[in-house]
Amino acid sequence: MAKMYTLSNGKVVTEPGNKSIIYLVIVLAITSFFMLFIPIDWKAINFRNAGFILGQLFTPTSGQTYRDYFAFIVSTPVLNALLETIRLSFGGTLIGALASVPLAVLSARNIVKKPWIYQTARAIMNFIRTIPMFVIAVVAIFFLGYGILPGIAAIAIFTFGIMTKMVYETIETIDMGPVEALDACGANKVKAVGYAVFPQVLPIYLGYFIYCFEINVRSSVILGFIGAGGIGIILYNNVGYRYDRVGGVILLLFVVVVFIQSITRYVRGKLQ
């Protein structure tokens, strides 16, 4: 397996063995474990149904025109619900993103040298990340009542988890030179973080913020299904009944997400 080269001066160089075949076998084994034994009921599969519903989503229902189809999308209740979705997503993202900063700093191994601190911080983060947003929302409704408030709480906690993880990983990649310089100036830990860490992390942090906002606009739709506010309620009321309206709401969300992404691009460009 291992190749050997004899140089003209008699020295022998041994090339390290190639392990890629072993890795290929491992990858194939893992893949087949997950993919090969999925039970499939061939009788239940009906691609016609899929095509039928897809057609329903983006065409007016019988007896209506495209004028009616788009009139629904821009009707006041739909736009109000959309506004509610954007508001609760933004509010929740903002709260979660701000709250994530201290925990992210405490989770970063290059800033906090004591293992028990960053391990505790990461344990808290991982626990929060394990709870599905849906469950957080159900619990939040239980003590905050129905409406936009439990939605904000659910998104804030969800965002807190992912932002903490992304931000601490970013902190661990920064240039430590400025931190050393601040230490040498006699700065304490908090000052060093404020002057040497935050400026380096800030543009990436803002990028993550907008990314989370965009994810949250889409994923918060599920919150409407359980009464935690937003446009999900309109989807909930029309799924299985008026697929044209479901399709209309999906188109609307698509436009919003594209819009947020164009803002992201603009802001990223400005921050370079």
Binding site: D175, E180, C185, G186, A187, Y195
Partner: protein, 254 residues
């Protein structure tokens, strides 16, 4: 005054970086520490402000025993010692002014510094430090827009803004081109002369050390094997310090 008494430094991996160092540096001196890479120059320099704690012995700075200082008292000691690094260690995304103002953080509360609430006096100190380095007009430019020599001047301004009585420089010109190197070394000489600031610099290039410093400390395998004025340095001493004849790598040339 800086004073080392029987200082040893052993790293956790067992490597002994400093062996029985005894050294006294008086106020206002310009001392160059020379030696091969890995000889212990950096460790010696960083023992002064406890960026690397020592294993044995005592280090005194301005009468205080550095190895005993911790927390707030350590930070109070450090704010009187400027430090210059090979790679400048500026926050590249921040403005030059903000980088220099960072030299003032140890003088104010955490709350105020994080909000950027510096008294007018401190802002003037920072701007004056930039003026002393001849780059006042760059104050509101981002640090990464500057050339290497200018960035090292910003780092010097940050050190000056601390109003220090000692500046430690760890290979301050090693990432600069030869022409810029000479002008930055001129800056060090000027700071030493005009503001009576003690300068201790690790230098790789022997000719630069001889040209700018008053006193040379030669270090080999963690031990001081030469300590004397520039005039006492001889070719054979240098060969002893470097363990070989000097090569073109050890000399900047002009």
């Amino acid at each position: 005054m800086i004073k080392f008494i029987n200082v040893d430094k052993i790293y956790p991996n067992g490597f002994q970086a400093l062996k029985n160092i005894n050294l006294e540096i008086n106020d206002g001196e310009f001392v160059a520490i020379i030696g091969l890479s890995g000889a212990g120059k950096s460790t010696l320099l960083r023992a002064i402000n406890k960026m690397h704690p020592i294993s044995k012995g005592e280090v005194y700075v301005n009468g205080q025993e550095v190895s005993k200082l911790e927390g707030e008292s350590l930070r109070m000691m450090r704010r009187n010692i400027g430090m210059i690094f090979q790679s400048f260690n500026l926050v590249k995304r921040s403005s030059v002014f903000k980088n220099v103002l960072a030299g003032r953080v140890a003088y104010h509360s955490t709350f105020k510094t994080l909000l950027g609430l510096f008294p007018l006096r401190d802002k003037k100190i920072a701007l004056e430090a930039l003026d002393k380095m001849g780059i006042l007009e760059k104050a509101y430019v981002r640090a990464d827009q500057l050339s290497g020599g200018q960035q090292q001047r910003v780092a010097l301004a940050r050190a000056l803004a601390q109003e220090p009585n000692i500046i430690l420089a760890d290979e301050p010109v090693a990432s600069l081109d030869p022409v810029t190197t000479l002008s930055v070394m001129d800056d060090f000489a000027r700071i030493n002369k005009d503001y009576k600031i003690t300068i201790v610099a690790n230098m790789h290039h022997v000719d630069l050390a001889l040209k700018y410093a008053h006193r040379i400390v030669g270090i080999k395998n963690g031990e001081i094997i030469f300590d004397g004025p520039v005039s006492a340095v001889t070719e054979s001493k240098l060969i002893e310090i470097y363990g070989r004849k000097l090569t073109s790598d050890d000399i900047l040339g002009e």
